[in-house]
Each structure stands twice: as structure tokens, then as C-alpha cells.
Amino acid sequence: MKIVRAIIRPEKEDDVVLALEGAGFPAMTKAHVFGRGKQKGLQVGPIHYDLLPKVLLLLVVNDGDVEKVMSVVADNSKTGFIGDGKIFISDVEMAYTVRTGEGL
């Protein structure tokens, strides 16, 4: 199993979530976070925005579904401008459902 951490634009959140749901991944966790990237924030005239609001989506999926999830997230959150976000993949050793207590 892998955990997919996708940092996306807040305005693209609904698009991505609906597309993931349509692709068969309705289960996820969402957090509103602040971050900055290679450009160290955003410079608009004299005003500098250091940390920009983003949405962090957490999904745990089977190894075979990682590419599919990544492509769904990327296709629906892409605008082509800086600040589109990142997707990180890590290993998950075990997953448990609290209600039944069984490992997945």
C-alpha cells in the first residue's frame, strides 16, 4: 500500500475530489495548509506573499492504483502556471479499519 499526499490549489479541490470519486477512490482526508515552493511565495508588485493557501489531500491506495490516482489528480489540478502543487508517494506498512479491527 502507498500513501498519496497531493498538495493542490484550493480552487481545484472540488474538481479533483469529484474526479477521484468518479474513478472509484471516494475515501480521503483533506487539510487546509499553507506552503511555498521554489519561487519562495508570490510577488505582486511591492507586496510579497510568503506562504500561500493550499489543500492537502491524503489517500491510501493499493500499489497498482498509484499511477491512476496520480494521473487523475494531475489532470484535474493542472493549470500550467506555477503553484499547481506537488504529489508525494510513501510506503504504508499496514492499514487497519477501527470499526472491525482487521488489517487491510
Binding site: G24, P26, A31
Partner: protein, 140 residues
Amino acid sequence: MKEIMAVIRQSRVKQTMEALVAIGVTSVTLHSLNGRGRQGGNIMECVDPLMSADVECVSKIYKFPTPSSMAGASKLTKPVFWVPKSLLDIVVSEVPAEKVVEAIMSVNRTGSKGDGKIFVLPIVDAMRIRTGERGDAAII
């Protein structure tokens, strides 16, 4: 070293903390965030209590009847539904991860949907910023 990520009900956080202290886990990071599970949110309670359970899935992009697909059927405007949850982040080295998982599960199990998930992840390295200790010494 293992990281335990537990997504649990917000009302059970205090009891969970007490159970964790009882097995010797004192360091916990708590996040408040929103989640949705296999049901894609809480269909009957959050969306429309009057809506019948067997609404047909009208939209073609959905394979499963979820709150979002049913939102179109009942002319609701907000299509994505989230349930407030708490995420506990625990990194352990001495205490076995299975023991922590059992402690969290014994407190949080109500038997109904929405009890949450627990994930166990490997941690490659850790550092205590105050002293610069690395690895297991940083966590104990």
C-alpha cells in the same frame, strides 16, 4: 521507527490520549481536518434526511452512488461532503506499533461507520532539534 497515523472521531481524542499515556506514548501531534470514507461522506445525515436511500445514480462519471452523485439527483448545490475528523501522528521506536494500534482501536471502536482508519508507515530517520540527536535517541 514507525509512524502511526490514526484518523479518528473528534469526540474520542481525549480518551485516546489517556489510553496512549497508559502504554507509555506521550508525544502526539494532533491535526483537525476533514475526511470522507468509502461512503464518500455521510449520505443520510449530512445531505438530505428526507432523501430515500435508493436514489438512482444519474451522472455517468460516477460508478458508485455517493453523496456527490446523489447531490445532482436531489438538486443540491454543494456536491462534496466532508466529516470533521482528528488525525493523530505518533512516531514510536521502543513501544511496538501493534501495541499502539491496539490501544487506539480499543478506545475508538463503536461498531458503526466512521470509526476511522489507522496507517503504519516506516520512518527512515529522526532528529531532535534541541540537541541534534539522530535516530532512536531522538524519539525516546
